[in-house]
């Protein structure tokens, strides 16, 4: 089953009087449980595409279905609810909350987004800490963790709400190659264990090889759907 279906998806930004197309008529589908990479140089439109799939931005034209929902029609509040219920996010700079421990950072979406009961939160956090190999560092704050450890916590946080789709914008950009590779291995492991679909953007060719599906963008156009289900 496809978790993402895009048809002639476009996004154009307005810079004063000038219209700047960021994504042009991109059509693709992403199957459930896959590891997908949006690849392309800086400014190619991969982050914009990721933002639209993540319901952070609205398409200017075309249709976009995420987990069966036409997300292009969601207003601000509905989009926030949709993200909280269905999506997970991993960021290039980890974006962990500095005043919270690793365990509390993972707990954050369960508490602040989904308002889950304390017992359920505790159990889920312990499960994820074990899964990402961070149980020993549960009480450490982000400034006491290495880059790789921070990104492991970020992966666990993205999965805390049992998100069906996790979007990662350049998740390995701030990591050395070995660590980046281990993070991707972790994503695969979590995908296998939890059935989550991971979509990440990168411009690092060494990382691209780890993806099962590669969508290559140039100047906002999809130029290659390696392994992706072509659509339209």
């Amino acid at each position: 089953m496809n978790v993402v279906v895009a048809d002639k998806l476009s996004k154009t930004y307005q810079a004063g009087a000038v219209a700047v197309p960021a994504v042009r008529e991109a059509s693709f589908a992403i199957g459930g449980g896959s590891l997908v990479a949006f690849v392309g140089p800086s400014g190619s439109g991969k982050s914009t595409l990721l933002n639209m799939v993540g319901c952070l931005d609205h398409p200017s034209a075309g249709t976009l279905q995420v987990l069966g929902t036409n997300v292009a029609s969601l207003d601000r509040r509905a989009a926030a609810d949709f993200r909280g219920a269905n999506l997970g996010f991993i960021f290039q700079d980890f974006n962990l909350i500095p005043v919270l421990s690793a365990a509390e950072n993972i707990e954050y979406p369960l508490l602040m987004v989904q308002n889950r009961p304390a017992a359920e939160r505790r159990a889920r956090v312990m499960e994820l800490l074990e899964a990402v190999g961070m149980a020993e560092q549960a009480d450490k704050r982000p400034d006491q963790l290495s880059g790789g450890q921070k990104q492991r916590v970020a992966v666990a946080r993205a999965l805390a709400t049992k998100a069906k789709l996790v979007l990662a914008d350049e998740p390995t950009a701030n990591l050395d190659h070995d660590t980046a590779y281990r993070i991707l291995e972790l994503m695969k492991k979590m995908r296998d264990e939890q059935g989550t679909t991971f979509v990440f953007s990168t411009h690092d060719p060494k990382i691209v090889g780890e993806a099962e599906v590669v969508l290559t963008l140039e100047d906002g156009r999809l130029v290659n759907n390696s392994g992706a289900k072509a659509h339209g």
Binding site: N51, G54, L56, D57, R77, A80, D81, F82, R83, G84, A85, L87, G88, F89, F91, D93, N95, I97, P98, V99, L100, Y108, P109, L111, M112, V113, R157, A158
Partner: protein, 409 residues
């Protein structure tokens, strides 16, 4: 909510220097306001207590027009016996009244046989006056009290005259007064005691027995100039005054005045109340500016973090609540420490009292106290202002576009 508060507390601790400075400002404001309320309240109570408990009473009943001419002490505007009876009947029927004292006020020449000066005198019934003015006997700086206040044939004189004319208790003096018919009469009196001066109308008056006053004035009727009334509680004054005035409405020629209409100190008290209001407004300003400043900075410095929590689907109302909680915590902590510090300072001012002079009075001692209601009200004002000051930054955070926020450098 507890988790939000915990997170808010940690965020405040993250920028602890700024939090400390802002809390310090709030604490300073709370302490300044509460100390001012405690000290000015103590000063007001002290002076108002002296005025009402040793001179004026809480309210007075006069014949209509007497107060307008009170500086002249006009004998022709005294209350006649029938009016006095009407007034006493009204006072007897009021539960708020605990005592009243009829007075005959007049001006007199005062001589120690070598020097002469003028004096304002009150003819009083000693026990009645002592009951209505419980602090009057306490003003005696020389001599002693008898019959509740003074005996027949004796006079209590103000300290300023005693000192100026070198008169002491036991000395004989002559009082000469102009009677209602214009004739003059003089009598000798023995000085029973000397009264310390206090600020306000009647603060430098002398006292004689009411019957002696009538004899000196050759009065044929039991007239009185005023009836000074003591109430159970000063707070009951407006209601009691209205009731008594209503009860005397049929009498026509009588009117009722509260102490605040008879003493110029009431204006000072009103000015203190105005200052109190201004200092509260300043506190509101301090809290608003300090908390808003720190919350604007907090939002600005955490834009990426706000972008992240917004991106992962945190509802805007929770982001709003998080920042409001931070502002509210600043108010709560500032209030708690400020109130504790104020209580400690008020306690210290009672242990090591401050003396001051007011008018002719020296070495007045303040005994400040802090009412729970005042502390609660100030606390509530500070916390509400802290929340209001956080509203705009919190609203901005809650409405922030996650993409723009995540791109923020």
């Amino acid at each position: 909510m507890a988790k939000i508060l915990k997170l808010a507390a940690r965020n405040l601790a993250r920028y602890w220097r700024r939090t400390l400075l802002t809390s310090g400002l709030v604490i300073l404001g709370v302490v300044a306001v509460l100390l001012f309320i405690a000290v000015s309240g103590s000063f007001k109570s002290l002076i108002v207590g002296q005025i009402t408990d040793s001179m004026l009473g809480h309210l007075q009943v006069h014949r209509r027009g007497y107060v307008a001419s009170i500086d002249n002490l006009p004998l022709n505007l005294n209350m006649k016996p029938a009016a006095v009876a009407q007034a006493e009947k009204a006072l007897e029927g009021d539960d708020a009244v605990v005592a009243w004292s009829p007075r005959l006020k007049f001006g007199s020449m005062f001589s120690n046989f070598t020097e002469t000066t003028s004096i304002r005198l009150n003819g009083v019934l000693p026990e009645r006056e002592a009951a209505a003015m419980p602090m009057l006997a306490g003003r005696l700086v020389q001599g002693s009290v008898a019959n509740g206040l003074l005996e027949r044939g004796k006079v209590l004189i103000p300290e300023i005259i005693a000192r100026g004319m070198k008169i002491k208790p036991g000395d004989t003096v002559v009082l000469v007064a102009t009677n209602l018919d214009g004739s003059v009469n003089g009598q000798t009196f023995v000085v029973q005691g000397v009264l310390g001066d206090v600020t306000g109308p009647g603060g430098r008056d002398g006292y004689v027995h009411l019957e002696d006053a009538r004899a000196l004035l050759r009065m044929t009727e039991a007239e009185v100039s005023e009836i000074a009334v003591r109430l159970k509680d000063l707070g009951a004054l407006p209601a009691a005054k209205a009731r008594i005035a209503a009860a005397l409405a049929g009498a026509g020629a009588l009117e009722v005045h509260g102490w605040d209409q008879l003493s110029p100190f009431a204006n000072i008290a009103r000015m203190i109340d105005l200052l109190d209001l201004f200092i509260r407004v300043m506190l509101v300003g301090i809290v608003l500016i300090a908390v808003m400043n720190v919350m604007i900075m907090a939002v600005y410095e955490r834009i990426r973090e706000i972008g992240m929590i917004s991106a992962i689907g945190t509802p805007p109302r929770r982001i709003l609540a998080l920042f409001l909680a931070e502002g509210a915590l600043l108010g709560v902590v500032g209030t708690a420490i400020g109130v504790a510090l104020s209580l400690a300072l008020v306690y210290a001012l009672n242990v090591w009292p401050v003396q001051f002079a007011f008018g002719r009075e020296q070495q007045l001692v303040l005994a400040p106290s802090l009412a729970g209601a005042d502390a609660l009200l100030i606390g509530a004002i500070v916390i509400v202002m802290a929340i209001l000051a956080s509203l705009q930054p919190a609203w901005k955070a809650a409405r922030m576009d996650p993409i723009t926020a995540l791109r923020h450098v």
